[in-house]
Subunit: 138 residues, 2 copies
DNA sequence: CTGCTTGCAAATGATTTGCAGGAAA
DNA sequence: TTTCCTGCAAATCATTTGCAAGCAG
């Protein structure tokens, strides 16, 4: 997606188009693998040293609020962000706190069908994601 | 489980049995619904006002390290703990950051079978958990 | 005894916040 | 112009840490 298209998204959501927001978007594109806030701040500061960390935090919050990106959390303690909004799952290794995306349409189909029939009392399912815990093999 | 049995677990893991550890265990039993560290600290301080927060944090870390409990994380920012170690999934409502356990053996069977046949390149699955995102209906 | 644990208080570090000035629409 | 955003720096708050004293084994 070009920054032009991205600007359009911002406008559609009633958000102003600013250098800072485009920069965060740019950083998210470059570091697509579940970056931490710190990752993004450091990428941005290379090219735009004047953009402040506070602004990056605010921008990320704004994006999450408007469903432009998602928060992801592992069992370690920093927040990570995910710019991919399609349904996907996560491969997670506890040892080194590494995450990878995992796409599996067949699996999605099985789960969708399963939960179409199965109703859970007192809960309305809107989405699901599977976390596969294990080890990355070199 | 009685505290006597729990003491045995501690001993088996080479951990000393202390009032503080039993108190944390007791609090975990009482507040089984994914308590935050703060929940546990406050429960403990009612009965044992002299146990310090730092100790509770250390104890929780020790328990996680020795796989006595698990860390659970939602997309909000505080750590939660889970004293149930059986395979189970989570119902999660983003609106109020509420989690519930969800047990479903049929689902587990389907997933186990699916991943027995399906191999993921460069990843060895050890466990999985499903997060069902949605809303609790009153 | 002797080393693991605790309590305390200070330190850390990620994230938030308040506010005055700046920029988009 | 008017509202929304940004930068800055201070504040917050969960969690960690260092260390002397305490207790379990």
């Amino acid at each position: 997606m070009h920054s032009k298209e991205f600007s359009k998204i911002l406008t559609e959501k009633g958000l102003k188009v600013t250098i800072q927001r485009l920069a965060v978007y740019e950083a998210l594109c470059r570091e697509r693998v579940h970056p931490t806030s710190e990752n993004i701040i450091s990428i941005i500061s290379e090219k735009y040293p004047s953009i402040s960390a506070g602004t990056v935090y605010k921008t990320l919050d704004t994006f999450v609020e408007h469903k432009i990106i998602k928060r992801v959390k592992t069992d370690s303690d920093v927040m990570r962000y995910d710019s991919v909004l399609d349904r996907h799952h996560h491969l997670y290794c506890e040892e080194n706190d590494r995450i990878s995306d995992y796409y599996d349409e067949e699996l999605d189909k099985i789960l969708l069908e399963y939960f179409n029939n199965k109703k859970i009392p007192e809960f309305k399912i809107e989405d699901f994601k599977l976390q596969l815990v294990g080890k990355f093999t070199p």
